[in-house]
C-alpha cells in the first residue's frame, strides 16, 4: 500500500470518530473548506493560475443551491450537485474571458469578475440582499436519511468531501493532470510540443470552479443560510492562505491548511479582530520560513532524509 493511501485512511479514521469529540458544525466547516482549498490548489498548485476571486464560485453556488433547496425542496445532495454545476458553468464563462492571460493579469481579471458577481448577488431579489438567504431547509438525504441533527449530517458531508477529494486526486493524477503540471512548469514548451495550453487551463478552471461550487453549496446546507460573506473578497484570500499554509501543489497540504485556519478562527472568534491579525502573522511566518507550506516542508524534509 502506498504512503498516500496510508495517510488517507488514517485521516478518514480520524474524521469518522471526530464528531464524538469536536462540535460537528466546526468539523463540517473544515470539510467544506477542505474541498474549497483543493479546488484552489488545482488551479494554483497544479496549473499555475492564481485566481484572485475564487469566492465567486464558492458563494454563488451557496446562493443557487440554497435557493433551489428552499424554493423547490431539493434534497441536500441534489442541491450540492446543482451548486457545483452552476459554478462550473460560471467557471466556463470566466475562463473564456481570462484563460488566455496568465500571471497577474489573470489574477486581476478574476478579481474584477468576482467583484461583479458580488454586486449582482447583492442586487438580485432572490438572495435577500444584505440579510442573505435564510432558513434553508435540510430535506432527508436521498429522500431517506434524516439529517436535521448536525451529528447525522456530518457523515453525509464527510461522504461528499471524500468523493470531492477523490475527484480532485483523480484529476491531478490523470494524463490530463500531467499536462496541467507541464503547463504550470513551462507553458510555452507545452505549446511547442503541439498542445494548446489555454484549452487545458479552461478545463482546469471549469473543474476547479465546480469543486468550489460543491464546497460553497455544502456550506449553505450546513449553516442553512447563504450570505454575501461567502462571495466576498476575504473568502478569496482565506483560501489562498489555507493553500499556501498547508503546501501548494501537495495533496494533503490544503486540507491541513483548511483545518488549521478554520480551527484557529473558531478558537480566536471570541477575540474578535485578533483572528484576522493572527492570520496575517501566520501568513507572514509561512512566507518567511515555510516557503513550501507545512506539508510541502515536511515532504522536502522526508526527501532530504531519504537522500542522506
Amino acid at each position: 500500500m502506498s504512503k498516500t493511501s496510508v495517510i488517507a485512511i488514517a485521516l478518514l479514521a480520524v474524521a469518522l470518530v471526530a464528531p464524538l469529540f469536536v462540535y460537528p458544525v466546526t468539523l463540517m466547516t473544515i470539510l467544506c473548506f477542505i474541498v474549497f482549498a483543493c479546488s484552489f490548489n488545482l488551479l494554483l498548485g497544479y496549473t499555475g493560475l492564481l485566481c484572485f476571486g475564487h469566492a465567486m464560485f464558492f458563494g454563488s453556488a451557496a446562493y443557487v443551491a440554497g435557493w433551489l433547496m428552499k424554493t423547490y425542496g431539493l434534497t441536500p445532495e441534489m442541491g450540492i450537485l446543482a451548486g457545483g454545476l452552476f459554478s462550473a458553468a460560471l467557471g466556463l464563462l470566466v475562463g473564456i474571458i481570462a484563460v488566455r492571460k496568465s500571471g497577474i493579469t489573470f489574477a486581476m481579471i478574476t478579481f474584477a469578475i468576482a467583484q461583479f458577481v458580488y454586486f449582482i448577488l447583492l442586487r438580485s431579489p432572490f438572495t435577500g440582499g444584505e440579510d442573505g438567504l435564510q432558513k434553508i431547509p435540510r430535506e432527508p438525504v436521498l429522500g431517506l436519511i434524516d439529517v436535521t441533527r448536525n451529528f447525522n449530517y456530518y457523515y453525509v458531508v464527510l461522504a461528499i468531501t471524500v468523493l470531492a477529494v477523490f475527484f480532485f486526486y483523480r484529476i491531478v493524477h490523470s494524463p490530463f493532470g500531467e499536462i496541467l503540471k507541464a503547463i504550470r512548469d513551462n507553458d510555452a514548451r507545452v505549446e511547442s510540443l503541439g498542445m494548446k495550453p489555454e484549452r487545458y487551463k479552461l478545463m482546469a478552471l471549469v473543474l476547479s470552479a465546480g469543486l468550489a461550487g460543491v464546497a460553497g453549496a455544502m456550506k449553505a446546507s450546513v449553516f442553512q443560510f447563504a450570505t454575501l460573506t461567502d462571495v466576498s473578497f476575504p473568502i478569496s484570500t482565506e483560501v489562498i492562505i489555507m493553500t499556501l499554509l498547508g503546501g501548494l501543489g501537495t495533496l494533503f497540504g490544503p486540507m491541513v491548511g483548511a483545518g488549521f485556519i478554520i480551527y484557529l478562527n473558531e478558537y480566536l472568534a471570541s477575540f474578535g479582530e485578533w483572528a484576522l491579525i493572527s492570520q496575517g502573522i501566520i501568513l507572514l511566518l509561512v512566507i518567511l520560513f515555510l516557503r513550501r507550506g507545512i506539508v510541502g516542508e515536511f515532504n522536502a524534509w522526508m526527501k532530504r532524509r531519504q537522500a542522506s
Binding site: R170, I171, R189, L193
Partner: protein, 267 residues
C-alpha cells in the same frame, strides 16, 4: 528543375526544389520602428543540418521564432512540407512535425525526466484531456519514453526531477522530449549555449546522431560546432541574409569575415 511557388513572383525568392522541407519567402518582422528581420528568403533542404549564424542583433533568434511560429511575421510566407503555415499556431505546426527547442532550458522542472518525455508522447497520442483516467493509462508510453531517455544517455535518471539535472543533462532531456514528437524538422535554438566544454562534445554528437532521417535547423554561436555539424549555413546581418553556403564557402567570404568572424573566431 526548379519551380517557384505560386504567389511568390513579386520578388526573386529562393528557388525551391522538391527537396526543400521548409521555405520562407520575403519574411519580415517589425518591432515598432525596428526591422528585426527584413525580407529574408530561406530554403532548408530535407535531411540537412542547417545553421543560422550572424553577429549579435543580426536577427537570428527572431528569424528562428518566426520559422517556429512563436512569432507572427509582419509580412512574408512560410511553407512547411508543402503546406502554407504562415497563419498557423505553434501547437499546430508542432503536430505537423516542426518542433523547436528553446535557448533557455525548456524542461518541466518539477516533473521527472520520464514524465517530461511522456508529456510529449501524450501530445502525439492525443489522450490528454482525460481527467477521469488513472495515470496507469499512460504507463504503456513509459517504454517508449525510456527508449528515448536511453538514446540521450539519461536512462539511469528517469526518476530524477528535471530541476535536479545538470545543465548539459537538461539539454539532453530537452532533445529527448523534442524527439518524442518524431519531428520531421527539429529546430534547436543555441543548443550549446552556456555549456561547459565537457558538455558540448556529447550534445554535438547527440544532435548529429538524432539528425539522421530528419532535418535540423540550429541557431548557434559556437562556430566550431557549426563547422563540424552543419551542411548549410545562412549568415544573417542587420536582419537580412548576407550569404549562404557551406562552411568553407561562407567562412572565406570577405563580407562575412568583416561582418562577424574576424572578431569572434578565437573563442
Amino acid at each position: 528543375m526548379t519551380t517557384l511557388h505560386e504567389g511568390s513572383s513579386m520578388h526573386a525568392g529562393p528557388t525551391t526544389t522538391g527537396d526543400s522541407v521548409l521555405v520562407a519567402r520575403g519574411l519580415s518582422k517589425r518591432f515598432g520602428g525596428f526591422m528585426a528581420v527584413n525580407n529574408v528568403d530561406l530554403s532548408i533542404r530535407r535531411g540537412s543540418i542547417h545553421a543560422l549564424i550572424g553577429p549579435n542583433g543580426a536577427g537570428k533568434t527572431t528569424c528562428f521564432n518566426l520559422l517556429t511560429k512563436t512569432l507572427s511575421p509582419t509580412s512574408g510566407t512560410i511553407d512547411f512540407d508543402g503546406h502554407d503555415i504562415t497563419q498557423m499556431r505553434a501547437a499546430d505546426v508542432a503536430r505537423m512535425g516542426l518542433v523547436r527547442s528553446f535557448q533557455i532550458s525548456a524542461t518541466f522542472p518539477h516533473m521527472t525526466a520520464l514524465e517530461n518525455v511522456r508529456v510529449a508522447l501524450q501530445s502525439s497520442y492525443g489522450s490528454t484531456y482525460r481527467f477521469w483516467n488513472s495515470l496507469k493509462r499512460v504507463e504503456p508510453l513509459n517504454e517508449r519514453a525510456m527508449h528515448l531517455l536511453e538514446r540521450v544517455g539519461l536512462a539511469n535518471m528517469a526518476k530524477v526531477e528535471a530541476a535536479d539535472l545538470s545543465y548539459g543533462k537538461k539539454r539532453a532531456l530537452e532533445i529527448a522530449t523534442t524527439l518524442a514528437m518524431e519531428p520531421k524538422v527539429m529546430l534547436l535554438d543555441e543548443p550549446t549555449a552556456g555549456m561547459g566544454h565537457e558538455d558540448i562534445e556529447p550534445i554535438t554528437e547527440l544532435i548529429r546522431e538524432t539528425a539522421k532521417g530528419r532535418t535540423v535547423v540550429i541557431v548557434e554561436h559556437n562556430l566550431s560546432i557549426v563547422a563540424t555539424l552543419c551542411d548549410r549555413i545562412t549568415v544573417l546581418q542587420h536582419g537580412e541574409v548576407l550569404t549562404e553556403g557551406t562552411y568553407a564557402e561562407v567562412s572565406s567570404d570577405e563580407r562575412v569575415i568583416s561582418a562577424y568572424m574576424g572578431g569572434v573566431d578565437e573563442d
